[in-house]
């Protein structure tokens, strides 16, 4: 009689140290090898889309803070862009620059968190995570100067931002632009050349460019797969068309490329910030809009290149004070489409690393 072996099914999550929230994967293992993955969602579903239908256009901004709670600014920006497209409001120039500044700061925050947790998933006992959070705190301090909150910011308003930046913000930003490159160098010295990290991440979780496009992947993951696509260049919003920056593109599309892309994007964000600080004009920061916005009947789709990918809002207006339908194209959810392709035939340990490199946020996946 031949020896009989059986696959073993394990529920990774919803409570698990490294599923980045209440995410659950039903994984079937053959020994340590993965043969099937089924992601299961919904543990953090709050019905944001439905809630938005009962709130005024301004009040929905507070809902968008809570989608991807490590990048509230980008969520705010995406939503107000959609409303502005819907109602034809054009924000003043200073507001557009400030929006770009905070969106790029938020991108650095999100990438710091992503890198930190990614390295934590590789098993570096929280050391890189702590270093990343040290810098994140500095940016959150800046956000606090700007709008009094650190995570749920509600900073933007339809037709601009809510209030001009105080003087101490500009000082803090200048300081930050000076020392941050040094800190990024330090992270790179700490871990980028580390042979253990290389052996853990190189050629693991490879996603080809065709597959990435076909699965509607966006953001750093798409670029790591070698597709040079960035909405800031391809479809510029606000003042991105005046900025000069590079789009980092990966060659292989493995975990290591995704890590490198995030590090490189942080450096590019610093470049954009520097240009914004140099170019920002004086002037009003909010277009003259009513507090209760009533856009004309119609629909509009506004999107930004968020830190995790393309975040879009599809708004339908019936002429009332609240959106008739508010569909959120969440980058985190759609980026998980290709998870199975990346994971099958890798090992248990690679699963956590690959999942960490995709960088999702459950608040945005489940909405």
């Amino acid at each position: 009689m031949p020896i009989r072996t059986e696959p073993i099914t394990v529920n990774i999550g919803p409570q698990h140290p490294s599923t980045h929230g209440v995410f659950r994967m039903r994984v079937t293992f053959d020994g340590e090898m993965i043969i099937d993955v089924e992601p299961i969602f919904g543990y953090l579903h709050r019905g944001s889309e439905k809630l938005a239908e009962e709130r005024t256009y301004t009040q929905v901004i507070t809902l968008t803070d809570r989608l991807d709670y490590v990048s509230s600014m980008s969520n705010n920006l995406s939503y107000v862009l959609a409303v502005e497209k819907l109602s034809g409001i054009v924000p003043p120039e200073r507001a557009m620059y400030l929006r770009v500044i905070v969106a790029e700061l938020q991108r650095i925050v999100s990438h710091l968190v992503a890198t930190g947790f990614f390295l934590n998933d590789v098993g570096a006992l929280a050391t890189p995570l702590m270093y990343c959070f040290r810098e994140r705190e500095k940016i959150l301090d800046m956000f606090e100067m700007l709008c009094g909150a650190r995570i749920t910011l509600s900073f933007m308003r339809v037709g601009g931002i809510f209030q001009d930046a105080p003087s101490e913000f500009w000082e803090a930003l200048t300081d930050f632009l000076e020392y941050m490159p040094g800190y990024i160098d330090e992270y790179e010295r700490l871990i980028t050349g580390n042979e253990i990290l290389l052996s853990r991440t190189k050629d693991i979780g490879v996603l080809s460019s065709e597959q990435a496009i076909n699965s509607s992947i966006s953001g750093p993951i798409l670029r790591a797969s070698g597709v040079k696509w960035d909405l800031r260049k391809a479809d510029p919003y606000d003042v991105y068309d005046r900025m000069e920056f590079e789009i980092p593109v990966g060659t292989v599309g493995d975990n290591y490329d995704r890590y490198l892309i995030r590090i490189a994007e942080m450096r590019e964000s610093l470049k954009i910030l520097q240009q914004c600080v140099n170019q920002i004009p004086d002037g009003p920061i909010r277009a003259d809009t009513a507090n209760l916005i009533r856009p004309p009947v119609g629909d509009a789709y506004g999107h930004v290149e968020g830190p995790k990918g393309e975040l879009g809002f599809y708004l339908v207006s019936d002429g009332g004070i609240s959106p008739y339908r508010c569909k959120i194209r969440s980058s985190s959810l759609i980026n998980l489409t290709a998870l199975k392709d990346m994971l099958v035939d890798t090992k248990l340990a690679d699963m956590i690393v690959t999942f960490g490199s995709v960088d999702i946020n459950m608040g945005e996946v489940d909405r």
Partner: protein, 398 residues
């Protein structure tokens, strides 16, 4: 009657004095304590004090470890309870003891309950043969190092019992990984020790220290390197902590344990680095011997230094994958260990019992061989492991 105890009595100063004191004790001209009882009481007292010293040092060690790792991560670490947080280990212990001892449905009770006990005994047993100073040890077994190798294998069984008995799939994964890893790393570990033993010609830990004319790390660099990696893997410390792998397997084989059973596992894991550092000090760093300072102090200084390095590595490095860890043992450390063994054997054959200038010649040869071996083998693996700097360079091209 007396003869059976003599070797122990004379070998161990603490024990000998205590035994003498107890047998010489006379009340009204009668000696109330018979020989065998004196032997028992003295032995018990010594063993009791050593075990408790180990446990207390370990609990303090957890505090030092947490504070140091916190500073590596530029935080402060536990500092709430007592001055500088010194009482944190006690608070931990009280909390663990007062915690409910949960037992999930479907566990194999006997196996489940026995596993923590079997896990903590072997690391403590190591200290039975470690010499802390001249004439300060519990016993001078003539097979001391063999005894250590033997007892450090037992946790493998305990680990598998815990993993299997829990009836949890994470635990099972952890246990399977643990068994594979521990059995593999026994081989390079023993191979690296054999080099030392060839010089010494004895398995006794005391003899090993006393016959170290220079610290063996100078003569056996490759052996030390292999032993360092192997022992890190043996005690499941980062970067070899795949057994626990908190980001993958939650807590590996002790996922289902709570309360003091879990505490026992943790205690054993914190004792392990002290044991490992002690073995390394004895084998490669000349044990208690050193100028000016008294023996035990030298011993603890060396142990502390090795322990700090283990900690530093733990705070920095990410975890390896299962197959990479096994590959490291069999493809990298095992051949190196064999080379080390052959070279040392040839040298011992050539020079017999080396003393004086021959030892430096030997050290020179061994260091050269170590560096050459490491460079060659590193080039063999590093072909795949170069960093990629092309992310931004690509940007301009397409």
């Amino acid at each position: 009657m007396d003869n059976a105890y003599v070797p122990f009595k004379e070998a161990n100063a603490f024990y000998g004095n205590l035994y003498q004191f107890l047998t010489d004790l006379t009340i009204f001209g009668v000696s109330p304590i018979p020989d065998w009882l004196a032997y028992l009481i003295a032995g018990f007292l010594i063993v009791f004090s050593v075990i408790n010293t180990v446990v207390i040092i370990t609990t303090l060690g957890t505090w030092v470890e947490r504070r140091l790792i916190a500073r590596f991560q530029s935080r402060l670490g536990p500092n709430r309870w007592g001055p500088w947080g010194l009482l944190t280990p006690i608070a931990d212990a009280v909390k663990l003891l007062s915690k409910e001892d949960t037992k999930p449905d479907g566990v194999d009770s006997w196996v489940f309950n026995l596993a923590p006990l079997m896990f903590i005994v072997p690391p403590i047993l190591i200290f039975a043969v470690i010499p802390y100073s001249h004439n300060a040890y519990i016993s001078n077994l003539n097979i001391g190092i063999l005894f250590i190798i033997a007892v450090t294998t037992v946790p493998t069984v305990a680990m598998f019992m815990a993993g299997w008995g829990s009836g949890n799939r994470y635990s099972l994964f952890g246990a399977m990984r643990g068994v594979a890893q521990l059995v593999s790393y026994e081989v390079p570990m023993v191979l690296s020790i054999v080099g030392v033993l060839l010089f010494v010609g004895s398995l006794s830990m005391v003899d090993i220290v006393e016959r170290q004319f220079v610290p063996f790390i100078l003569v056996q660099p490759l052996g030390f390197f292999i032993f360092f990696i192997a022992i890190s893997a043996e005690m499941n410390r980062s970067p070899f902590d795949i057994v626990e792998a908190d980001s993958e397997l939650v807590a590996g084989f002790h996922t289902e344990y709570s309360g003091m059973k879990w505490g026992t596992f943790q205690l054993a894991e914190f004792i392990a680095p002290f044991g490992a550092a002690s073995i390394m000090t004895t084998l490669f760093l000349k044990g208690w011997e050193g100028p000016i300072l008294p023996g035990p102090l030298w011993f603890f200084l060396k142990v502390g230094f090795v322990w700090f390095i283990l900690l530093w590595i733990r705070a920095t490095l990410p975890r390896l994958r299962v197959d990479q860890i096994m590959g490291l043992a069999w493809k990298f450390l095992f051949p190196l260990g064999l080379i080390n063994l052959f070279v040392t054997a040839a040298e011992v054959l050539a020079w017999g019992d080396p003393t004086g200038s021959e030892i430096w010649l030997m050290a020179g040869i061994n260091w050269t061989i170590a560096v050459v071996c490491l460079v060659i083998s590193s080039h063999l693996v590093s072909a795949k492991l170069t960093t990629r700097n092309s992310v931004l360079e690509n940007a301009g091209n397409n």
